[in-house]
Amino acid sequence: MTPHSRDDIARRVARALPHGAVVNLGIGLPGLVSRYVEPAQDIVLHSENGIINFAALPDGGAADHDSIDASKRPVTVLPGGSYLDVALSFSLMRGGHLDVAVLGAFEVSARGDLANWWTGKPDDVPGVGGAMDLACGAKSIWVMMEHTTRDGLPKLVDHCSYPLTAPAVVDRIFTDLAVLDVTPEGLCVRECVPGLEPAELQARTATRLIFCDDHRIDAPRER
């Protein structure tokens, strides 16, 4: 069994995005997804600092202090894109006008609670940015993360130990080991990496997994 690489996960998420979806890619790992979106998917990227339909600045492009995404990376607006103030930008987020937000996470609980903004440790200065707004508003909240911490501890849990970003918001989780849906009965495994037995996946997960009828052992399709 070989876990997916970060790029593999990004590729898998990109493939899952519906045609024409309006998508916000959170800071960190989710940013990789934009590399694997096909032009034919007609994905429209939104960034909360006030830009819609943009792309990373091409190599050699002249960086502009005033044209950045929420990760502060230089970006360029695409035809059909627009700029907006953050009041409207966050109205779009909170108001359910984005189709998918792809977010990183420290932990996700069995009922879809998300913890991704603060460890809660006394020496960790908190910073929330747009994390809570995104988690509360997009039509679908997808999490993209390693299945366990660097120390091998499960990140999918019965109850989050970190402070919540939002309760009961996550719909789907893409990890280096599996794709899981949050269902009323708990986390339901939709896909695993080849060679990973259900018991092995369960051993790395701190909440009881459901292996659904439609569960198939399926590697992300390579392009």
């Binding site: 429209v44 059909g80 006008h97 508003g137």
Partner: protein, 221 residues
Amino acid sequence: MIDKRVAGFREAIAGIETGHTVMVGGFGDAGVPVGLVAAVLERGPRDLTVIANNAGFHTGDISDWLSAGLVRKVICSYPRTSPTFVALYRQGKVALELVPQGTLVERMRCAGAGLGGFFSPVSAGTPLGAGKEVRTIDGRDFVLEMPLTADFALIRARQADPMGNLTYNKTARNFAPVMATAARMVVAEAIEIVAVGGIDPEAVITPGLLVDRIVQQGPRA
């Protein structure tokens, strides 16, 4: 390519059904989506709740819906401009929810922005605030106002591109940008449809992601 253009007004308003709530842009004649309004009249859904600033003025606007008996209730700030409305209202044949104009647009924005309600000083201590929750904040009375949403928003734009990005013409902008955030299905009748990239990203007022269908306006009646 994302392409939200539809072939005509009939297709543009497909899905408006009996019992729906429909927002209609415009203030006076400015910004009334006359083609969409006419298409709804032809389609003939009934028991509509209409949200607009006025209850129409004359033929060619939502007064026609009232005359045709399509409207159960009007939520607006100033219905007196419509003789048709006034007559039906006096006969008890149409309901009215009268809302101060700023509260009307703010309630739409509240829905479109995913908020649960807001406290406004407007209408506190007046008949239009009666029955609403009142809270005194820093010595001033505010009433609690709730979000206002709709099944459809019908608006008029100046320019549209196939992705749904919109600009507006002068004071025809009025309610349209906010209605576009507040309805489940947003349909824009545009004076001009331009290619993707034909609208300066700085000039876009309504981002395309808010708009579901675009139709080219016919010649003005």
